[in-house]
Amino acid sequence: MATETMQFKIYRYDPDKDSAPYMQDISIEVDHAIDRKLLDVLTKIKAKDDSLSYRRSCREGICGSDAMNINGRNGLACLTEISELKQPVVLRPLPGLPVIRDLIVDMTQFFKQYHSIKPYLINDTPPPERERLQTPEDREELNGLYECILCACCSTSCPSFWWNPDKFVGPAGLLNAYRFIADTRDEATNARLDDLEDPYRLFRCHTIMNCVEVCPKGLNPTMAIGKIKEMMVRRAI
C-alpha cells in the first residue's frame, strides 16, 4: 500500500472565536504503511494545524480518551483502521454531550451517572489478614464487566441517554453497576438493586443495543442490564 490523499470533514468549534460550529474540509497525505490508525492521521493533521483539538493518550485502546463519532459511529480513533474508512471521513464529537471545543465534549454528566451507582466495593465485614477468597468461577462472573474503559462510546450512542442524561444511568454506568452486583465480595446487592429500581435509572433502557454495537472493548452492556432486571424479578418472587 502506498500513499493516498484522503478527504476528511471535521467538526470544528472554538468558542473563543467561532460564533457557530462548522465542518472543515481537510485533505491529507496518508502513508498506509505507517499511518494505520485514525489517530495516526489526526496526529498528522494536527502537525499542520495545531488548533485541531481532541483528547488522546495511550494510543492502544486502554485509556478511553479518544472516543469520537467516526462516519456516524462512535469509536476510538486509536483502534480505528484508517484503510477501512469510507471517504470523506466525517469526524464529530461524541453525540449528546455539550461540546467544549472541536472533538472535545464535556463528560461531566457521563461521569456523574457512573459515580451515582457507587462504583466501589461495598463490604463492611472486617477483612481477613490475607486476601478475601473467591473461586475462579465466581471471579469469571466479572469478565466482560471490569474491562470497561469509561470512553463513553456506549452511553453517547444511546437514544435513551440522549433524552435523559440526568436521569438514565446509561449503558456504561449500568454495566459497572452490574460489575459490583456480580462480585461475590460485594455486600450491597439489595441496596444496589433498590437504587436502580426506578422508571428512569434502569428502565429507560429499551434494548436498542447501540451500546453493544459500538463498544470498542467488545463488552455487552445490554446483557448486564438484562441480568440486573432478572435479579429484580427473582427477588420479587
Binding site: 494536527k46 471545543r101 478475601r132 475462579p136 471490569y146
Partner: protein, 594 residues
C-alpha cells in the same frame, strides 16, 4: 491568552498526578481528612498506569514457597546493585500487605483453584536467592494496571477525594529557604492559571518515555514533574538509566507484557532458534529486561532478525493452549490483532526492544520525601511512582516492581504528608512575592513568540536524537555528539511557536509546555549517560566492555554511586548508594548472571 492573572487556592495538600501513585497517596490523605486537591492532565482512569499488563509483585507464596527476602535479593540484583537497599527492603517487605489491601479495595485479581490471588512467573523473579523462576506476579489477566487503576480510583470516589481533572501543573512554588509551597497550574478547559497553595506537595506525575522516538508510553508521559523539579533547583537522580522493554510491537511500539513469557512464550530469531538459551542459560526468556533487550538487539545486529528488513525478532506462543491465551492473555491477543495484524494463537508476534520506563527521577528516601543533593529533605515536597527515584530500581527495574513501587511509595508519601500536616500542625508559609514570575514569563513568551520553532518538529528532533544516541547500546562518540545535539534542540525548545492562541482547551499550548519538561529530561539523560564511563544495568557502553577486572563492564570502584544532574549549571555530582538494608544483612556485590 489575555488574562494572565493568578488566583490562589489553599489546600492542606496538593497531589500532582492521578495514576497509581497519586491515587494511592490520595486515599491516605482523604481518609485522614486532609483538604486535598488532586490534579491530573487526564481523567484519573486514563493515566498511564492503566496500560500496565502483567502483574504486581508480592511474595504471597500462593502457588509455591516465596519470601520477601528473596524478592529483595532479586530486586537488588536486577538493579545491578545501584538500588538503595533500605528502600528495596522496605518495598519488598510491604508488598504482600499492599497487594492484599488492593484486593480488599475490590481489585478483580485472577484466582487460583483455592480462591487466592493468581500469581505468574516474571523476568528476574527467582526463589531462594536466584535459584529458579518463582510465581510472584499477582495478576488480573493481562490487564493488571487497568484493574488496579480503576480499583484505586473507585476507592477515591468512596473517600470523596477532590479531583481537578484536566489541569496541568506548570511549576513548583519554592521560597528562598527552599520550602515547597505548592504549584501553579493551568486549567485546560478555560486557560485559567491558578496557584495551589499547600502545606505539602506530592509529585506523582509518572515518567517521560516520550523523550524517545519509539516508546511504549502514552502521549501524556512527558516528565512534567521532572521538568518542574529541575526548574525549581532539585537535582535529578540516575537519569541515564532507561529501561527498554524487550517486547514492544515492531513498528507500533505498543507493549506486549513480559507475562507472555511468564506464561511460556519464547523469543525466536530468524533461524527459529530460542536464542535466550545462549545468553541466560538458567532464566532463559525470563532473564532481566536489560539482558533480554541486549540479546535481541545483538541477534538483530548479527543478521538473525526476522522480516524483510531483518529488524525484529518473534515472540512465539503458538505452542500454548488457546484456552490459556484466551484466559490469561486476552488483552495481548487483542493488541496483536490490532497493531501487528497477527493472531498470536496462530502466528508469532514481531517485537523489538522499546523505551518503557525511567529508573531515575526526583530523589527521595523511602518515606517518599524528596531529598536535596546534600541529603537533607526538601520541606513540603514528596514524590512517588515513576517520577521518583527512591531508588528501588537502580540501573534496571524488574517487571512488576513498578506497580509495587507506586503502591508502596504512594502510600508512604501519603502517610508522611498526613504526619507532617496533622501531627506537626504545620501552617501555610507565605508565598513569595515573585512566586509566579517564572511561569508567567514562560506563558507570555509562548503567546508572543514569532518566527519560532514548530513544537512538533522540535519534539521529533529530540526524540530521534535520543533514539539514535542513547539507546539499548551506547557508544562514547555517539554520546558526546548526542550532548551537543540535545543542547541544540534545547535552543529551539526555548523558541517554540504555537499557532493556536485560544484560551479554550488549547492542546497546542499544552504540548509546548510539555516539551519544556521533556527537554529537561532528555538533556539530563544524555549528559548523565555520557558521563558514566561504565556499563551497569540498562546503561551499556562500547568503551566499558566485559573484562576480567570489570565483569559486564561494571566498575564498582569508580561508579557504584548515584548521578545527580543539576539543571542550572548542567553539571553532575554523585552520591553513594545505600548498601545497608533496614534489618537484614547487605546483599553483597556480585557479578550479575541469569
Amino acid at each position: 491568552m489575555s488574562k494572565l492573572t493568578i488566583s490562589v487556592r489553599k489546600f492542606d495538600a496538593v497531589i500532582v498526578g492521578a495514576g497509581g501513585a497519586g491515587l494511592r497517596a490520595a486515599i491516605q490523605l482523604s481518609e485522614a481528612g486532609l483538604k486535598t486537591a488532586v490534579l491530573s492532565k487526564v481523567f484519573p482512569t486514563r493515566s498511564h498506569t492503566v496500560a500496565a499488563q502483567g502483574g504486581v509483585s508480592a511474595s504471597l507464596g500462593n502457588s509455591e514457597e516465596d519470601h520477601w527476602h528473596w524478592h529483595m535479593y532479586d530486586t537488588v540484583k536486577g538493579s545491578d546493585w545501584l538500588g538503595d537497599q533500605d528502600a528495596i527492603e522496605y518495598m519488598c517487605r510491604k508488598a504482600p500487605e499492599a497487594v492484599v489491601e488492593l484486593e480488599h479495595f475490590g481489585m478483580p485479581f485472577d484466582r487460583t483453584d483455592e480462591g487466592k490471588i493468581y500469581q505468574r512467573p516474571f523476568g528476574g523473579h527467582m526463589s531462594n536467592f536466584g535459584e529458579k523462576p518463582v510465581r510472584r506476579a499477582c495478576a488480573a489477566a493481562d490487564r493488571t494496571g487497568h484493574a488496579m487503576l480503576h480499583a484505586l480510583y473507585q476507592r477515591n470516589v468512596r473517600a470523596n477525594t477532590q479531583f481537578f481533572v484536566e489541569w496541568m501543573a506548570l511549576d513548583l512554588i519554592r521560597d528562598a529557604e527552599g520550602h515547597v509551597l505548592g504549584i501553579i497550574a493551568l486549567e485546560m478547559e478555560t486557560g485559567d492559571i491558578v496557584a495551589f497553595h499547600a502545606k505539602a506537595t506530592i509529585f506523582a506525575t509518572g515518567g517521560a518515555g516520550r523523550i524517545y522516538y519509539s516508546s511504549t508510553n502514552a502521549f501524556i508521559n512527558t516528565g512534567d514533574g521532572l521538568g518542574m523539579a529541575a526548574r525549581a533547583g532539585i537535582a535529578l537522580e540516575d537519569m541515564e538509566f532507561w529501561q527498554f522493554h524487550p517486547t514492544g510491537v515492531a513498528g507500533a511500539g505498543v507493549l506486549i507484557t513480559e507475562g507472555v513469557r511468564g506464561e511460556g512464550g519464547i523469543l525466536r530469531n530468524s533461524d527459529n532458534e530460542r536464542f535466550m538459551e545462549r545468553y541466560a542459560p538458567n532464566a532463559k526468556d525470563l532473564a532481566s529486561r536489560d539482558v533480554v533487550s541486549r540479546a535481541m538487539v545483538t541477534e538483530i545486529n548479527e543478521g538473525r532478525g526476522c522480516g524483510p528488513h531483518k529488524d525484529f525478532v518473534l515472540l512465539d506462543i503458538t505452542h500454548l493452549d488457546p484456552a490459556t491465551i484466551m484466559k490469561r492473555l486476552p488483552g495481548i491477543r487483542e493488541i496483536s490483532i490490532q497493531f501487528a495484524g497477527i493472531d498470536p494463537i496462530k502466528a508469532p508476534i514481531p517485537v523489538v526492544p522499546t523505551c518503557h520506563y525511567q529508573m531515575g527521577g526526583v530523589p527521595t528516601n523511602y518515606h517518599g520525601q524528596v531529598v536535596n543533593a546534600d541529603g537533607t529533605t526538601v520541606p513540603g515536597f514528596y514524590a512517588a511512582g515513576e517520577v521518583a527515584c527512591a531508588s528501588v530500581h537502580g540501573a534496571n527495574r524488574l517487571g512488576t516492581n513498578s506497580l509495587l513501587d507506586l503502591l508502596v511509595f504512594g502510600k508512604a508519601s501519603g502517610d508522611s504528608v498526613v504526619e507532617s500536616v496533622k501531627k506537626n500542625a504545620v501552617a501555610h508559609k507565605d508565598l513569595p512575592a515573585d512566586f509566579a514570575d517564572q511561569t508567567l514569563a514562560r506563558l507570555n513568551r509562548l503567546n508572543t513568540q514569532k518566527s519560532g520553532a514548530s513544537v512538533n518538529e522540535t519534539r521529533l528532533e529530540m526524540q530521534r536524537t535520543m533514539q539514535k544516541h542513547c539507546g539499548v547500546f551506547r557508544f562514547k562518540d555517539m554520546l558526546e555528539e548526542g550532548v551537543r545535539k540535545i543542547c541544540e534542540v534545547e535552543k529551539a525548545v526555548r523558541l517554540t511557536e504555537i499557532g493556536d492562541k485560544s484560551n479554550t482547551w488549547n492542546t497546542a499550548r499544552v504540548e509546548a509546555l510539555e516539551l519544556d519538561n521533556l527537554i529537561e529530561v532528555a538533556k539530563s539523560t544524555m549528559v548523565s549517560a555520557e558521563a558514566r564511563k561504565e556499563s551497569r544495568g540498562a546503561h551499556v557502553r562500547d568503551d566499558a566492555p566485559d573484562t576480567a577486572a570489570n565483569p559486564n563492564g561494571r566498575d564498582d570502584e569508580k561508579w557504584l554511586k548515584h548521578s545527580l544532574w543539576h539543571r542550572e549549571t548542567n553539571t553532575l555530582s554523585y552520591k553513594p548508594v545505600t548498601l545497608t538494608p533496614l534489618s537484614v544483612e547487605s546483599i553483597a556485590l556480585k557479578t550479575r548472571a541469569y
